[in-house]
Symmetry: C2
């Protein structure tokens, strides 16, 4: 990666380039799976385990006037449990570090803890520890750990694989769009933005079914699938007619005069899964496209109905 | 623990009470060591491992005008590697989530990554992954994982145990006091505040020597040792004459007209270790006191020369 010009800011280069530059600085020789996947896989005496960390920041990932403390806790846990799910694994524990302004009510913090614990108990995981410190805005830093019988990475997708999705797509994005314009409905979309429902069984299911590559959709389907396409060196072509459009997504799109498919393809925060399968897809997964070799001179990447998608593929921080 | 009054803020109750209240809300039945120790111990198929998380916030834990990015990275890594050390373990990996204002220079962030990597390599650990997101202030959320042949907790100290310390005490606190008053010297103290040097060998050494309880000194010796005393149900009596006073600590105390012992007893951020030993202390450790049963009506806690210490025992957030 080319070094940025002297004095360049993180806003100048954007989240993904910044992560790439950081990764170049770090040695990661002893890891089974290192930085750049949903979770890292670390060898310890006796076995390996998966670990993933996310930082949720007030005003960027949640708003206290839109979401209850319980909702924020559930979402923070879900985002991290989803990373273990996206490796084909099951989470066993979270650590949670909280940054909290001093004038925050204790009751609010305890409801946040309740939400974290409730989401964990849905997958049989526990809160193992953490940290509490003073900060200017609410910060929720979560690390999830777990293990997988078979780990599914991002970089082993192959030409000929079927692309399939599991869980919600576009629902949280439609909810965010509605909330941003002052609406509190449709309820299913708004609720999905507040508390996503990752398909926790689908990750280990895909691993058992032989998935070659998998990622969870946190930034947007096109943005996240692009990570798989580039890491695997394939072109992924999605067929727009294969996506089911949930009714609340249509409702929001109609109200805003936008295309519902845009929410499906670029909406984040649902923590659904997208995976590539060499042969057959498991029950509950929906086929949405296929992977192929790049043509001569063509870059690895994601197409929709054979064409580059017009518009932003999803969320990128600092941009 | 009594619930706080309705409307109470985290500033009203303070860090330790808040952590106690949160811990009451969380179920932790399946963990070998749960929240409330330096690190949690989690069982996974094939073995157990240690995990600990800390959140460092600009303006609270570091200042960009006092410390270089490299220094801040080293300190963030050291604080978390120290938690694994304090369990008697060795760290294998860190995850690091960064919150960064958009106008931060990329070069600064890469130097922070260099500092994190350098401190990790000092103990043979690696950066396994993390997250980067936009935030109003610089946030460094670190999780360390590792393993121990024998885990040393906080709650198994016993009457008759010898209390001993390893590593620096008071040096970083003296450096902080000097920097706070606009001084840039004595260099050894100021440098210790910027980049602590935890005694990474001393943790596993104490575990092998049969230590009954151990903690790292991050908030201050009295504050941290109080956690051991209460968890173990003992009174710990320190003998002030047994502490070595480093020359830079004396220099700062003289300049400020304060007692150097106060830095030793209440200064944080050196990440030295204090441990209880049933029989004999290892090379490199210094005996500083002993544990005994509480007298009738006496609470578990820490005394200095048989008396309660006057003044703050160390740092507590929100207070």
């Amino acid at each position: 990666m080319n070094p940025p010009p002297t004095g360049a800011t993180v806003a100048d280069v954007g989240e993904f380039a910044l992560i790439g530059l950081i990764r170049e600085r770090l040695g990661t020789s002893g890891l089974i799976v290192g930085p750049g996947d949903d979770a890292a896989e670390i060898a310890e005496p006796g076995g390996s385990f998966l670990i993933s960390s996310d930082l949720l920041v007030e005003g960027r990932h949640f708003r206290r006037d839109w979401s209850s403390a319980d909702d924020i806790g559930r979402k923070a846990a879900a985002a991290n449990l989803s990373d273990i799910n996206a490796m084909g694994g099951s989470a066993s524990a979270l650590t949670v570090s909280l940054g909290i302004p001093g004038d925050t009510e204790v009751a609010w913090v305890l409801q946040l803890a309740d939400g974290l614990a409730a989401e964990c108990s849905a997958v049989g995981a526990e809160i193992a520890g953490g940290d509490v410190t003073a900060a200017d805005q609410v910060i929720v830093a979560v690390t999830a750990v777990g293990s997988a019988e078979r780990t599914v990475r991002r970089d082993a997708g192959a030409a000929g694989d079927v692309v399939a999705v599991a869980g919600d797509l576009g629902l949280a994005g439609a909810g965010f769009a509605a909330l941003s314009r002052g609406f509190r409905s449709p309820r299913a979309a708004v609720d999905a933005h507040r508390v996503p429902h990752p398909p926790y069984e689908a990750g280990p299911q895909a691993a058992a079914a032989g998935a070659s590559a998998m990622i969870d959709v946190s930034d947007g389907l096109l943005a996240d699938l692009d990570h798989i396409a580039r890491a695997s060196g394939v072109v992924i072509d999605l067929e727009s007619t294969l996506f089911e459009i949930p009714e609340p997504v249509s409702t929001v799109a109609d109200a805003l005069g936008s295309d519902p498919l845009t929410f499906i393809l670029t909406g984040g925060d649902d923590y659904g899964l997208v995976a590539l399968f060499p042969s057959g897809i498991p029950d509950g997964w929906t086929r949405v496209g296929a992977a192929r070799h790049p043509s001569i001179g063509e870059d690895a990447g994601v197409l929709v109905d054979g064409m580059a998608f017009e518009g932003s593929p999803g969320h990128q921080h600092f941009r």
